[in-house]
């Protein structure tokens, strides 16, 4: 789906990006997605730090959840979870 891109008169001067990258959902990049087994999660929050996207958010209760709009399926979270409660599952 292509949208009409703005012409030079419409664009503001200075080439300042006017859209957050959050509008660009990279979640369709990967072939796998992480599934967190919260029953075994210790809330160490390391996965939140290790995610290159910042796609693993920490909830109010301290558990983590994946924002699949951005997850690229790199598998770092699953590889690094100290209790191995994250599994990379093939997308269907």
């Amino acid at each position: 789906m292509s949208e009409q891109k703005p012409g030079w008169r419409e664009l503001h001067r200075g080439a300042v990006p006017y859209r957050s990258s959050e509008e660009y959902e990279t979640g369709d990049w990967g072939v796998e997605r992480p599934e967190i087994d919260l029953s075994r999660c210790t809330r160490c929050v390391l996965c939140h730090f290790y995610c290159p996207e910042g796609a693993i958010k920490v909830r109010e209760d301290g558990y983590t959840e994946v924002d699949f709009r951005y997850c690229k399926g790199c598998g770092i979270c699953a590889a690094e979870c100290p209790v191995k409660c994250i599994e990379m599952v093939r997308k269907t």
């Binding site: 703005p6 503001h12 001067r13 200075g14 080439a15 300042v16 006017y18």
Partner: protein
Amino acid sequence: MMQRQVLMGINGDEAVAYATKQVNPDVLAAYPITPQTIIVERFSEYVADGLVDTEFVAVESEHSALSNCIGAAAAGARAFTASAANGLALMWEMTYIAASLRLPIVMAIVNRALPGPINIHNDHSDSMGARDCGWIQVYCENSQEVYDACIEAWRMGEHPDVQLPVMVCLDGFTLSHTMENVLTLPDEEVEGFVGERGYMTIRGHMGDAEFRLDPETPLTMGPCDLQDFYFEHKLQQVEAMKQALDAIPEVDAEYAKVSGRRYGLIHPYRMEDAEVALVGLGSTMGTVRHVVDGLREEGVKAGLVKIRVFRPFPEEDILEAVGDVPVVGVLDKSASFGAPGGPLYEEVKTTFYDESDRPLIADYIYGLGGRDASQGLIRGIFRSLEGIRSRGEVAEKVSFVGVRE
């Protein structure tokens, strides 16, 4: 107002330094190169004596000088630098970036030949080599113009319709190191004229904001454009230059009220009934004016058009000033190897191409590497123009004058 001006005996570099002292920019980042050195030295003295409160950054190269200015201007500051020849060449990359980032930095260029062989004397190869980068370029005939341009430049670049960096060019040694009489404004007049820097308002990803870096409204400057946006951003720069053609005379008019000196994009002299005329830039035009007066006394209808603003190129003004003068010589103080002629000649000739009634135009490339442009040399060029006038044709489109064959 003019009575309150102070007459100083200063050289061109000192005029730059003094004007900049009065503007008192937030940041000055510069690296020394002859013949610009007096600017940085004099300004350092002002800093050391507490006469300015500019942050003086003694950078380690010209590339870093302009990079520092870009960082500073992006952060909302007024930033100034100065360079010449190799220094300008070293910061070449950054000149394009400063212009595309729409940062109204002011830079004095003390025109000096590009090597090699290394030559520290005056010609225009340095700033001519930078004519495509998107900066406004002002060429000065004498130190008075240098002083005035270094004040006006801030308003030219910061004009809301422009928002571009400005290069003030002065001839190395001829102007930079030669003492002249310069009328200087009182400090408060300069402060009042330049005022505070204004910013354009843009839409960023976190809201509308002034175009400057500030934690209050974060924005991103200097993104990566793919094929789908670069061209449009360049058109915006094209438009800014067009706007400058109107904005600069506006600034000149305002400056005239403060200083009593009225500048324009070009300065025609005795062109109304001229039959032979020379078009050129910089200090040589002072010599040309003197020769024109002498020739007039001898009955030769000579005239000149001094181009003060080379970028944006003032086509309309030149067409009007030249009018129906039949023979025009263009003085180029730089060569473009392999090109049909010198850069100014090419632009002047292009300006006239579509006119139904256009003059015969010849190029005279002179003065490379500081080769002196004496009255005799200029007279010789006018004789050549008269020859063209009588023959009705340009035998030699491009000649190199003053060089030993």
